[in-house]
Amino acid sequence: MSTVIIILVVVALLAIGATVATVVVRRRRPALVAPPPVAPLPEVLVPEEAPRPELRDEPAMRARLGASRGVFDRLRGLGAGDVGEDDLATVEEVLLRSDVGLATTEAVLDSLRRDGAPEGVATAVRGVLRASLDRPRDVVEVADEGRVAVWLFVGVNGVGKTTTIGKLARREGERGHRVVIAAGDTFRAAAADQLALWADRTGADLVRAHEGADPGSVVHDAVGRAAARGADLVFADTAGRRANSSNLLDELAKVRRVADRGPGQVLETLLVLDATTGQNALSQAREFLAAAQVSGIVLTKLDGTARGGVVVAIERELGIPVKFVGVGEGVDDLLPFDPDEFVDALLRA
């Protein structure tokens, strides 16, 4: 299939190129005869005195947004008993605004329609959401006898994988583990330097290679170093990758296989998700689960206004538990995930 596509694209682009080339050639010829007096400016270079764009506000939208905030308060005010259409609309709006997504929201509404809300709408909604978060979420730190535990960190670009490793290195260090960090992001500029600072801050060991090195071999070396030095936990960073590229995911699967060989034993594969992400997080989870057997989620950037409700949908659909949440950029800004608090925060104004 892929060869077909490659050939198709090449041919199609070739045809474009050919037409473009014809124009260039055609254009050049008359230009030799009579060159235009002044070459017009490219589209983006308008005369320099051009005024700066004017700021235009959209008051109507502002008013709407201001009003929208109140819906969370309204939800808490809703009474007990049968749930009317208006109440359902309020619930729907609250859930959608928290990025819970249409499918999960519909499911909650159905259950409200079916069961009513004997103890108040907010309580009923909380109950339904809480029920979808009912699963074990402990992390495994100890490998089999004679092996080294490996935690692999995966996710799309910029979600907080590296920072989370820093925070977890601190946490696990405090819990008495000796941590080696593998700088497996050999793609992004200065990714290893970023991790070096975290290793410094947390006293963890760092294994790194040059930019462009094979990430699998970095992880392999880190496991080797851990075994040699009596460290018991390896954190493997990986380059951020989009979840719709089977090749990048294959590469990840390979890193995972390498990490799980020899003394290495992959105990956790943590998918890092950014709380500001919308419904795309669901497809991220799906793809990374398939490629790298994700065992848990770290939900970062919960210190902002984003609520990260999409993890409810992820737990419902894929059963991957959220294990930690990130609440800042500092080394201690990491908490174990607490479903009760999370649901409260989802519904809070």
Binding site: G17, L102, G212
Partner: protein, 489 residues
């Protein structure tokens, strides 16, 4: 990215049936679907409402068109409204009368600011400008180093010093003035809109350098929160516009509509990948067409024009049409295509692609192209000219030489032969069907939207003797040269 929306609207068109006039019931049903599509695409709820109201106003009581199905009519209204929200027309970048033109980038953590700073620098260099980068993110570990590496890869100087962001920005600007740089791009640390201290800091940076352009860099996968972020940054910094990143994800990109809707400033640039060249001006009309599944021929042609060498292309195109296209030609073309950016990205832009093709294309990356190249390079010159020579034992040798497998070699040869046959059978007449579709689009587009070169496509299908008027725009755009990133991906 907007694929999902597109699919919804396609289905909508199939399900709507009515006669004479769109009834309120038709409208309700259609708009309910549009609403779901927008919500699934992460468009913020207030923006969804405003959008639906506007579409309803456009459609209410409208007579049914003779030539459009009701579904198409709704799509047309949605399309028009999308263009309105996405910004009407692209913002033109103008330059400060007294250089340097100062550009400030701000946004949430991990949105893509640093990468975008480098991409912008390269873009300005291509416009014939002399940009300088200023690394004012002193917060994230190794952020300065990251920008230095990126700057080095495109040959642009990076200024920074371990003081404060405000100081770095100010001194960076001074330095640029002193050494005669005409564009200064300031990268800042990622910050959350609720972080008062950091929002104050970026406001101070802005006050210190009085930027001509302040861009909010926003990730295409952002959810409902996009509006809070956009509004907060707009309140503090008076944004000139938005730059949307990660359009290469399969995200539906509703955040673009949300942020645009709430700040009323245009989306100016769009990033479609990790590579420095995966970046261009944002074109609202094209984006709206893309949302509706019409592909984006204009962007594609512009990219082709920028990255391809006309001589090389013309030569092998001639051989392609006459059926004497060789694997060497193919390799040359492949390398031209690679210069244009990621294959998946290109494929998405191509009109007439089915959903399956788009999905398949987006999963291809550099590595596979490398494989194809390795296979061809493992052939002897003679084999490349006459692929028919390649028998079983040669195939095994080639597979070994290229580190691939015999089936991979077989597949490549089979596809290549078929392609050649197809092109030959089309003979000298006309363009492949894909291109025909593009030419149609070209003919339909408003003339002022046509980039140079596009008219030629239209010409190619209806042979008109008049050569297009020289527009001269091209030469300059090519200035500054192309820069290859440190390594492919």
């Amino acid at each position: 990215m907007f694929d999902a929306l597109t699919d919804r609207f396609e289905r909508l068109s199939a399900s709507l049936r009515s006669r004479g006039r769109l009834s309120e019931a038709d409208l309700d049903e259609a708009l309910r679907d549009v609403r779901s599509a927008l919500i699934e695409a992460d468009v913020e709820l207030s923006v969804v409402r405003a959008f639906l109201d506007a579409v309803r106003d456009r459609l209410r009581g409208q007579a049914l068109s003779q030539s459009l199905t009701p579904g198409q009519q709704v799509i047309k209204a949605v399309h028009a409204q999308l263009i309105d929200i996405l910004g009407g027309s692209a913002l033109k970048i103008t330059y400060a009368p007294r250089p340097p033109t100062v550009v400030l980038l701000a946004g949430l953590q991990g949105a893509g600011k640093t990468t975008t700073a480098a991409k912008l620098a390269r873009w300005f260099a291509q416009q014939g400008r002399h940009p300088m980068l200023v690394a004012a993110d002193l917060q994230r570990p190794a952020a300065v180093e990251q920008l230095r590496v990126l700057g080095a890869s495109i040959g642009v100087d990076v200024f920074s010093e371990p003081t404060t962001p405000v100081e770095v920005a100010r001194r960076g600007l001074e330095t640029a003035q002193r050494i005669g740089r005409d564009v200064v791009i300031v990268d800042t640390a990622g910050r959350l809109a609720v972080d008062e201290a950091l929002m104050d800091e970026v406001a101070q940076v802005s006050a210190a350098i009085a930027p001509h352009y302040t861009f909010l860099v926003i990730d295409a996968v952002t959810g409902q929160d996009a509006v809070h972020t956009a509004r907060a940054f707009h309140d503090r910094l008076e944004l000139t516009g938005l730059i949307v990143t990660k359009l290469d994800y399969d995200a539906r990109g509703g955040a673009v509509l949300s942020a645009r809707g709430v700040v009323g400033r245009p989306v100016v640039f769009a990033a479609t990948g990790e590579k420095i060249e995966d970046f261009d001006l944002f074109h609202p009309d094209r984006m709206a067409s893309r949302i509706l599944g019409m592909g984006d021929a204009l962007t594609l042609i512009e990219q082709a024009e920028r990255a391809m060498d006309p001589e090389v292309v013309a030569e092998s195109a001639g051989r392609l049409m006459s059926g004497t296209f060789t694997l060497d030609d193919f390799l040359a073309q492949l390398n031209q295509v690679r210069k244009m950016g990621s294959l998946g990205g290109l494929m998405r832009l191509m009109p007439g692609m089915t959903k399956e093709m788009r999905t398949a294309a987006s999963s291809i990356d550099e590595r596979q192209l490398g494989q194809v190249e390795a296979i061809i390079r493992s052939m002897t010159p003679r084999e490349r000219r006459e692929p028919a020579l390649i028998d079983g034992s040669r195939r095994a040798r080639i597979a070994r030489g290229s580190g691939t497998t015999v089936p991979a070699v077989n597949q490549l040869l089979k596809q290549f032969t078929e392609m050649r046959k197809m092109m030959r059978s089309m003979g000298s007449g006309g363009l492949p069907p894909q291109m025909g579709r593009m030419a149609q689009l070209a003919a339909r587009a408003r003339p002022q939207d046509l980039p140079p070169g596009f008219e030629a496509l239209a010409d190619a299908t209806r042979p008109a003797p008049s050569a297009p008027a020289p527009r001269g725009a091209r030469g300059k755009k090519k200035k500054g040269g192309r820069v290859t990133p440190p390594k492919g991906r």
